[in-house]
């Protein structure tokens, strides 16, 4: 036994001490780095999430100090709590990597792979996951299931084709709003996120389903096809909002705010949920107090053309002499035409 009331776990050979009741995934996040299992459905801010997608499977090679037998099957690390003396292997186990490859293949069976069209491309967790763990070819020989895209309210668009049924948006509606109007209908291969008779979702916090969606199934209609994520520049900003904390990330293209999202951490989870007014209705710079450019992971595509200071010095100095010469030249060519 380590410290009083603390459990000692070893994940990929790295020991860490955590409180009893912590899941393996959260213990791994305490260590950080490459050994953190990827998670598509688990969301630390949503109660009861996790256990749906199976991407966070790990191998428990030693159950605990008292009962050192290994667990017979791979376990979902987001739902399994740690025991004292537990030994877990994630990336050091070939079995886990093989299983994860299979899970990604399963998730991609019905995914349309329309990344060039999808607005989520560039910040999509499924893209990252399949880049890291997926195979190059699908073995699925049948038709993919297809749905028509649905407008949920006037600000949110649902592309059911892209959904991986992680249930995060259902939990958001359950836990953040008083009245849930959408859920998962049907079963098995036919299950889909839907609203009854396409009822519009109009709660103050319902816009958060866009942020929690790990794929491009729920997207912002006000940002639809406006620009690609990696051409916009994220800037942290806040505003005095009566309903939410008002801490957001603004995504700039030039001088225009193209969209507003919550501030996301390294696991793509928002720190604080923001309200619909902040997300959809306040898209001018004067509505916000700007703080600093958002820190973006070096490996992310969003870092392309990303500057660290607000007003980078101009590449070319203004020279009045040169401008006058250019105007003269233009006048001459105009005359000659």
């Amino acid at each position: 036994m380590a410290e009083e009331g603390k459990f000692k776990v070893t994940i990929d050979g790295i020991p860490v001490e955590v409180a009893p009741g912590t899941t393996i995934l959260n213990a791994a996040r305490l260590i950080g780095g490459d050994i953190v299992p990827p998670a598509m459905c688990y969301y630390s801010k949503l109660e009861g999430s996790g256990g749906k997608c199976r991407t966070c499977l790990v191998k428990v090679s030693k159950g605990s100090e008292k009962d050192p037998r290994p667990m017979p099957k791979l376990v979902a690390s987001c739902r399994t709590t740690v025991m004292d003396g537990m030994e877990v292997s994630n990336i050091t186990s070939d079995e886990v990597l093989e299983a994860r490859k299979g899970v990604v293949e399963m998730l991609l069976i019905n995914h349309p792979l329309d990344c060039p069209v999808c607005d989520q491309a560039g910040e999509c967790k499924l893209q990252d996951l399949s880049y890291e763990h997926g195979t190059e070819q699908t073995r699925f020989a049948f038709e993919r299931r297809t749905f028509e895209r649905v407008d949920i309210g006037d600000k949110i668009q649902l592309h059911m084709n892209r959904c991986i049924l992680c249930y995060r948006c259902v939990y958001v509606a359950d836990q953040l709003t008083t009245k849930r109007e959408h859920g998962v209908l049907s079963r098995g291969d036919y299950s889909e996120i839907a609203t009854f008779i396409e009822a519009a979702l109009d709660n103050d916090f319902i816009g958060n389903v866009i942020d929690v969606c790990p794929v491009g199934a729920l997207t912002d209609k006000t940002f639809r096809f406006k620009n690609r994520v990696w051409f916009t520049k994220p800037v942290d900003a806040h505003r005095d909002c009566p309903t939410c904390s008002g801490n957001v990330t603004l995504w700039y293209k030039g001088d225009d705010v193209l969209r507003v999202t919550g501030r996301k951490d390294e696991y793509n989870e928002v720190d604080e949920f923001i309200c619909n007014t902040c997300r959809f209705d306040t898209k001018r710079t004067q509505d916000w107090i700007l703080e600093a450019p958002t820190k973006v992971d070096n490996e992310s595509v969003i870092t392309a053309n990303h500057y660290l200071n607000f007003n980078p010095p101009p590449v070319i100095k203004n020279s009045s002499e040169l401008q006058a010469a250019n105007e003269e030249q233009l006048a001459r060519t105009e005359r000659l035409k």
Binding site: C115, P116, V117, F225, R228, V301, A304, T333
Partner: protein, 174 residues
């Protein structure tokens, strides 16, 4: 001092003799060379009337391709602009309406697609990045022009013409 390379030649200047002083042999020698060139094969190619054989992987002007039904392939995904080291490509995306599905392949298309040919270095990275096989650098050389604004090629110059079997003639067009 001894030379390092041992290849130093000492040139000694001597006064010119009689034949050198009258210059005539030197003049005829020069004229003979000039005359010989009259009968040699001319290496100059009069582009664009006449063309040398091009390499298979020659990269010329870009063209935006159409699919087998004549619809534009480009979906404005922005990967060409992202990969472009010279930042020559810009585009604006738009959503396809119901009655435009015979014009554009996907639900999103590029309403504006511009390449600044003064910036372009013809590296072919856009071609490699394209997931939709929509852009190829298979055109001719980009020709010279007088004004800077004429070097910004829009969709009118880039999108390849629609294939029409009736317009097909036996003559080989250049």
């Amino acid at each position: 001092m001894q030379s390092l390379s041992n290849r130093k030649k000492v040139i000694e200047q001597k006064p010119m003799n009689f034949w050198e002083r009258i210059y005539l042999p030197a003049i005829f020698k020069g004229l003979r060379i000039t005359l010989r060139h009259f009968f040699m094969k001319i290496p100059t190619v009069k582009y664009p009337e006449e063309r040398r054989p091009y390499s298979k992987n020659f990269r010329g002007q870009h063209s935006l391709k159409r699919d087998e039904e004549g619809r534009e392939r480009c979906t404005a995904c922005g990967l060409c602009a992202l990969s472009c080291p010279a930042e020559a490509i810009t585009m604006t995306a738009a959503e396809r309406t119901k009655d435009e599905s015979h014009l554009y392949r996907e639900e999103k298309y590029a309403s504006v697609y511009e390449i600044n040919m003064l910036r372009c270095i013809f590296c072919g990275l856009c071609e490699e990045a394209c997931p939709k096989e929509a852009i190829y650098l298979d055109g001719p050389h980009v020709t010279a022009d007088y004004l800077r604004k004429d070097f910004i090629y829009g969709k009118d110059k880039l999108v390849e013409p629609k294939f029409d079997i009736k317009m097909l003639t036996q003559e080989k067009s250049i």
